[in-house]
C-alpha cells in the first residue's frame, strides 16, 4: 500500500485533469495540485512529460506518470484499499477499456469538429454525428450498467470517469450552441446518468461550473484569434 508524496500537475478546466482528480477523490487520497497557467508550460511539466509536454501529470514520490487514463489505472493499482475503479472481471474490464477508447478516439474528435465547424450546415452535420455516437454510448450504458446507476455499477468506475469528465464542456457546447446533445428523446439514460455523475461526492467539486468554463472558452478563443506574440 502506498502513501507518500502525491502531486498533480494540471489545470482545473481540463477534463483530462478532472479524470485524475476524480480518481484520487474516489480513493480519498490527498494530493498537492500544481496549477499550470493557461498558455504557458512550467519547467516541472516539461521535465516530467518531455514527450507530450501536456497535463495531467501525476508525480508520485517524484516519479511522473502521464496520460490521463494510464494515471487513473495507476491510481487504481496503487491505492488498493479504496473502492475499485476498474471492474475486477477481465471481460467487464475489457468492455470498460473499449468504450473509454471509443470516447477518446471517436466521440471527442467529433466535439472538436463541431467547435471548428463554420456555417450552419457544417455545424448541423457535426451535431448529427455527435448525437449518433451518443446514441451508441446510450446503448453501451444500458449494457454496462445492468440496470444500476453508473457504467461501473453501483458506484463510479473507469468508464464513468473517462466519459463523465467531458460533461462540463459538453454543457458549454450545448449552452453556447443553444441546442441539446444529450436529450431525453434519444439518450434518456445518459441524461439521468450525467446528473447522477455530476452530483457524486468524488465529482461535484471537480467539474467546473458551466459559467466558469464559458469564461475560459472565451479567453482561449480570444488568444487563438490574437496576433502571435513572442
Amino acid at each position: 500500500m502506498a502513501t507518500g508524496d502525491v502531486k498533480l500537475l494540471g489545470a482545473g478546466a481540463s477534463p483530462y485533469v478532472n479524470r485524475v482528480q476524480i480518481a484520487l477523490n474516489i480513493k480519498s487520497e490527498n494530493y498537492e495540485f500544481l496549477e499550470e497557467k493557461l498558455g504557458s508550460k512550467s519547467e516541472l511539466l516539461l521535465k516530467s512529460n518531455p514527450i507530450h509536454k501536456k497535463i495531467p501529470v501525476l508525480i508520485h514520490d517524484d516519479k511522473p506518470i502521464c496520460e490521463s487514463l494510464v494515471i487513473v489505472q495507476y491510481i487504481d493499482d496503487v491505492w488498493t484499499s479504496g473502492p475499485s475503479i476498474l471492474p475486477s472481471d477481465p471481460y467487464d474490464r475489457a468492455i470498460a477499456r473499449f468504450w473509454a477508447a471509443y470516447v477518446d478516439d471517436k466521440w471527442f474528435p467529433l466535439m472538436k469538429e463541431l467547435r471548428m465547424a463554420e456555417g450552419e450546415e457544417a455545424k448541423a452535420a457535426a451535431i448529427e454525428k455527435i448525437v449518433e455516437v451518443l446514441v451508441v454510448l446510450e446503448e453501451a450504458f444500458v449494457k454496462c450498467s445492468k440496470g444500476k446507476a453508473f457504467f461501473g455499477g453501483d458506484s463510479i468506475g473507469f468508464l464513468d470517469i473517462a466519459f463523465g469528465s467531458f460533461l462540463g464542456w459538453l454543457k458549454v457546447t450545448e449552452k453556447m450552441g443553444e441546442m441539446r446533445l444529450l436529450s431525453e428523446a434519444k439518450t434518456p439514460n445518459l441524461v439521468e446518468w450525467a446528473e447522477r455523475f455530476c452530483c457524486d461526492d468524488a465529482v461535484k467539486d471537480v467539474l467546473p461550473k458551466t459559467e466558469k468554463l464559458i469564461e475560459i472558452f472565451k479567453i482561449m478563443q480570444a488568444r487563438a484569434k490574437a496576433p502571435p506574440s513572442n
Binding site: 518531455p50 514527450i51 508520485h60 516519479k63 506518470i65 502521464c66 496520460e67 487514463l69 494510464v70 494515471i71 489505472q73 495507476y74 493499482d77 496503487v78 477481465p90 471481460y91 474490464r93 475489457a94 477499456r97 473499449f98 477508447a101 471509443y102 451508441v136
Partner: protein, 220 residues
Amino acid sequence: MEEVKLFGAWPSPYSYRVVWALKLKGIPYEYIEEDLSNKSSLLLQYNPVHKKIPVLVHGGKPICESMVILEYIEQTWPENPLLPSNTYDRAVARFWAKFAEDKGLAIWKLYRTTGEEFEKAMKESLEMLRNLEEHALREKKFFSGERIGIVDIAFGWIAHWLGVIEDLIGVKLLEADSFPRLHAWIKNFKEETIIKENLPDRGKVFARLKRLREMRLASP
C-alpha cells in the same frame, strides 16, 4: 479452458499483436482469417461498432481493439507476463503502448499520401521514432527489460511492416546510424522464435500495400 478464437487478417500488424500474445503465453486458439474486402457476418456481429479485426472471442464473448485484447489476455492468463509486476513500470509500459496507438498512425499515412499530407506524416513518423530511440528504449534489450512485453508487441510493426513501407515510398526513415537502439531492438525482436515464426511473408505484404497505394493515389 473455454474456447478461444481469433478473427484476424494476414496483412495486419494489429492481428499479429494478438497472435504473438497468445503464442507467447502458450494459449491454444482457433484462427479465422477474414477477407477485409468481404467481412463475414460473424465479424460484423462480434464487432458491430468498428467492424474491424482483430476480435478475440473467449467462451463466446467478443473483445475488440488489439490493445484492449492484450490487456484482457494478460489478466486472464497471467503466466509469461507481458506487463511488468511493478506498478510504476506498468504505468510506463501503458504510456508507451498508448504512444504506439496514437503516434503510430502517421506511418500508415506514408504509403498512401502525397504532397503536404505526406510531408506531415513524415515529420510525425520521424518524431515518433526519435522519441522511441531517446526515451523509450534506453539500454535494454526490449522495451520493458530482458523479455518481450506489451510495448514490444505494440511496436512490432516497426520490425517488419515499416521496412516494407520504406521500400514502397523509396525513403529510409530508420537509418542504422541515427537509430542504433531501434535497430538493435528490431534485430532482437525478430530473433525471438515466436516472432520469427509468426510474421507475414514480406513480399506479399509489399504487393498488397503497393496495390493499396496505387488505388489510393489514383483516385481523385
